[in-house]
């Protein structure tokens, strides 16, 4: 299949999937909850208020009419108003999104760099100390509950040692100028280095907690893939030609061993978004994950549906890009 038609097919499938996502979210926020109005107003509200609320939310219409209203709203980009902040959900999301993107990017960078490095060293020095260390580090990374490890690290690095802050994106008494919404970027643009380094310090623990399990998965895949490549004939040929081990590993093996890592990065992005929900809750990080948790706990249905749809959109887009990159790198994947 040509790359162009592969991309078209994937795009078409993605539109279908997004439609399905909207339906699932509709079911979750409008059909499963037995009594959304009761949840919003509490059990003791007078019937007239309940009726007014039902009318305001459109709950007095038939399910089918509600579905059409909902889909129509989505098409126009209208996610409704949050019941807690009374602002349009899309405004809320745009305010919280940059913090999540900042954390996600720094975590994925951390995970890819450390994961690839550990996997590479592990494969090259197989069964040496570094290999054992990296394997223990990896199995712990996928086994330790991130929300717990985060609390333990706060206990050590904030309460006991006082080296790092316990949470938030920057200290309370700092007031960033909001230009792009990305605190690190804004602080560079406005030349506020105090804020920049403060924000950087706040980023360390959340980045580690969010990136750790991905680091582990990437290191495992990288190790296996590198071991596989090192046994290939062309590597033996390259060595036989008299090339140094260093050149063979860095120029010939690494490039091919990285291909499976591309796919795992796409998959890891999903667990990263899941992890962001927990990490942001522990570190009081003002991002989309914490927004969703808060809206779930307060049963703020428009915010729940907007937030989950947004997360699913981001996740699907990243996977689409990964699939296309993969297909471009390996034509066998286009079938």
């Amino acid at each position: 299949m040509e790359l162009g038609s592969f991309i078209l097919k994937r795009l078409f499938l993605m539109v279908l999937v997004i439609f399905g996502v909207l339906i699932i979210v509709f079911v979750v926020t409008r059909i499963i909850p037995a009594d959304p109005v009761g949840a919003i107003l509490g059990g003791n509200a007078p019937p007239s208020t309940v009726d007014a609320m039902r009318h305001q939310l459109g709950l007095d219409k038939s399910i089918f009419a509600q579905l059409l209203d909902y889909l129509g709203g989505m098409l126009r980009g209208n996610l409704g108003n949050s019941l807690v902040s009374s602002r349009p959900v899309i405004t809320d999301i745009m305010e919280y999104l940059p913090a999540t993107i900042e954390l996600a990017i720094s975590s994925i960078l951390f995970a890819v760099i450390l994961g690839v490095l550990l996997g590479l060293l592990s494969a090259v020095f197989r069964n040496h100390f570094i290999d054992h260390f990296s394997r223990v580090f990896s199995i712990l990374g996928i086994s330790l509950p991130g929300f717990w490890l985060g609390l333990i690290l706060i206990l050590i690095f904030y309460y006991k040692l006082g080296w790092l802050p316990s949470g938030g994106q920057y200290d309370m008494f700092l007031f960033p100028t909001r230009i792009t919404g990305f605190v690190l970027l804004d602080s560079i643009i406005s030349g506020d280095w105090n804020l920049f380094f403060n924000a950087l310090k706040h980023l360390i623990l959340p980045t580690f907690i969010l990136g750790y399990s991905s680091t582990a998965s990437i290191a495992r895949i990288m190790r296996a893939s590198m071991l596989d490549v090192l046994h290939q004939n062309y590597i033996r040929t390259a060595r036989a030609k008299g090339l140094s081990k260093r050149v063979v590993i860095l120029r010939h093996a690494l490039k091919n061993a990285l291909i499976p890592v591309i796919t795992i990065i796409g998959l890891e992005f999903g667990s990263l978004l899941s992890g962001a929900v927990l990490t942001e809750t522990i570190f009081a990080w003002p991002g989309l994950g914490r927004y969703i948790v808060n809206s779930l706990l307060t049963l703020d249905y428009p915010a729940i549906s907007g937030g989950t749809i947004f997360i699913a959109l981001i996740y699907s887009l990243v996977n689409l890009v990964v699939d296309i990159l993969y297909a471009a790198a390996d034509p066998r994947m286009r079938s």
Binding site: L13, V21, L151, I152, G270, V277, L278, L297
Partner: protein, 305 residues
């Protein structure tokens, strides 16, 4: 035993010998697996951890020194001591007893989620793979839709919509988890359906339902079970995460994630409330992951030498 035994020899032997003879390839395979098992120390460690975990859950009421829910406000937040090795929480409950009794909840979680998600996954996967065509296309697109959400986020949404309780958290995770098994079962069903013996059974007049249940299902089930053992660690982590976020088991249930969350407000002075249940989660998940890794290694023909 080097002399190949003829069918006549076997017929003369006892029924048991005949039984053994018929199953010799399978028995050899099992022996080989046990051998590899012993050669994979990490899998062994995993097995031991899971064994301890299951034993603790089985004998929890005998092992727990105190009640898991009984409060004793006079001694609240007491540090670990000989009488209370894991300390006491903000209501004076013994943390060790809560962790021990909590193991039963975790076993319950794993068991029920496994049964539900495997059942849904096998049904969807086998029907999709066996019939193929439009049915396959529709079922797989539905699976894709579920996969479009990060797992925890979708489970959280289901759990919150259903009302946060332990039962609903189990249902919510099952609703997210089945997709893994559906894809696997589908792949197996596609392999099986084109086999000549299926064609023969169909020619004999067997219905589709009968073929799927008696011939495709038994062939699809083992890779699904293997995958399940590898996912059990993740299942516990997801359940504990829901408990931690307040979207799973509710107090006073001693679910491990919920206890970690309980201790969060007391983290600075009373670290033990958070630390010990978290370690229990970590050990159990580690055990399942080591076991899963071991099973994968044993089944991987590249390391079978």
């Amino acid at each position: 035993m080097n002399k190949p035994s003829s069918a006549a020899d076997v017929a003369q032997g006892s029924a048991f010998q005949k039984f053994l003879h018929e199953r010799k390839p399978m028995l050899d395979d099992m022996k080989h697996s046990v051998y590899l098992w012993k050669k994979t120390p990490l899998a062994l460690i995993g097995t031991v951890i899971i064994g301890i975990f299951l034993l603790i859950a089985l004998f929890a009421p005998l092992l727990a020194p105190y009640s898991a829910v009984g409060t004793d406000l006079a001694h609240k937040l007491e540090a670990p001591s000989a009488a209370h090795p894991f300390g006491l929480d903000q209501f004076g409950r013994d943390v060790l007893s809560r962790v021990i009794m909590g193991s039963r909840i975790e076993v319950q979680i794993i068991f029920i989620i496994s049964v539900i998600s495997i059942s849904i996954g096998l049904c969807v996967g086998i029907i999709a793979g066996y019939f193929g065509g439009v049915v396959d296309e529709i079922l797989m697109r539905i699976t894709d839709i579920f996969l479009a959400f990060p797992r925890l986020v979708l489970a959280m949404a289901f759990a919150a919509a259903l009302r946060p309780t332990l039962t609903n958290a189990i249902v919510a995770i099952s609703l997210v988890e089945w997709t893994v098994y559906a894809r696997l079962a589908r792949a197996e069903a596609i392999k099986v359906r084109s086999q000549p013996y299926i064609e023969a059974i169909r020619a004999l007049g067997a219905s589709d339902a009968k073929i799927m249940f008696f011939h495709v299902l038994p062939m699809s089930i083992s890779p699904v079970i293997v995958q399940l053992t590898m996912r059990m660690g993740t299942i516990i982590l997801t359940a504990a995460s829901l408990g931690f976020l307040g979207l799973g088991a509710q107090p006073p249930l001693p679910e491990w994630g919920a206890i970690v969350s309980d201790g969060r407000s007391y983290l600075m002075e009373n670290w033990w409330i958070t630390t010990f249940p978290g370690m229990a989660i970590a050990f159990t998940v580690l055990g399942f992951n080591l076991l899963g890794d071991g099973i994968r290694d044993i089944l991987d023909p590249r390391i079978r030498r």
